[in-house]
Amino acid sequence: MTSTNPALRHQVIRIYKDLLYLGREYPQGYDFFRTRLHRAFASQKNLTDEKKIRKGIERAEFVKKEIEALYYLKRYRTLRQRYDKS
């Protein structure tokens, strides 16, 4: 990992941190999220091709958006339930 572009390394670490912060409120619990996230990142650790790493970062960004969307949806559903069930 040290041999590759340090800028990419920082990007990976940043997205990892972002995802961790997001994972705090994950419905199945933070520990569940953390172990899975860690596994997902660790499974890609032998990537050396810059293009592939960039792809991976893009995928991580996508996952981040998905999680955000999940939270919005969850909030929407909760609110909806509270207002509709009268």
């Binding site: 990992m1 670490i13 940043r14 990892y16 941190k17 961790l20 953390r34 860690h38 990142f41 660790a42």
Partner: protein, 139 residues
């Protein structure tokens, strides 16, 4: 800032103390308090208390808090190897992602934000302690 202003007006009222110019950019609270104590101990205002003054972190305290944090971190495989000199990777068996998590936990513990570059340089308990001690706003 308010405290300096307050002290200054108080001093004017007392008029016994020689006027001195309180430096604003330095750690204002402590130095101004300390000096005014020396200047006029008898008329020193009891009402002025530095609740928000930075108490400073001792090295032992920082070390203890970081150790506690690592003790509770479930990925530390060999807790017996945990001491002030432990290296995250070599001694504790943490990979780089775990290190990121540890640094995040340290950030939270001391309510500071560590920039990516400096966070990347923290690889051992010792380095973390050094870094925290160098931060004036860590607590």
């Amino acid at each position: 800032m308010i405290r300096t202003a307050f002290l200054r007006t108080a001093r004017q009222a007392i008029r016994s103390a020689p006027r001195y110019h309180a430096p604003i950019a330095r750690p204002v609270a402590r130095s101004s308090l300390f000096q005014s104590k020396q200047v006029a101990p008898a008329t020193y205002f009891q009402a002025v208390r530095s609740y928000s003054a930075h108490a400073g972190l001792s090295k032992d305290e920082v070390e203890g808090r970081i150790m506690d944090l690592l003790k509770n971190f479930d990925k530390v495989q060999d807790a017996s190897k945990l001491n002030a000199q432990s290296h995250f990777h070599n001694d504790l068996g943490l990979d780089s992602l775990d290190t990121v998590e540890v640094v995040m936990a340290i950030e939270e513990e001391f309510s500071i934000e560590i920039p990516d570059k400096e966070a990347d340089a923290i690889h051992s308990v010792n380095q973390a302690v050094e870094y925290i001690l160098a931060q004036p706003d860590a607590h």
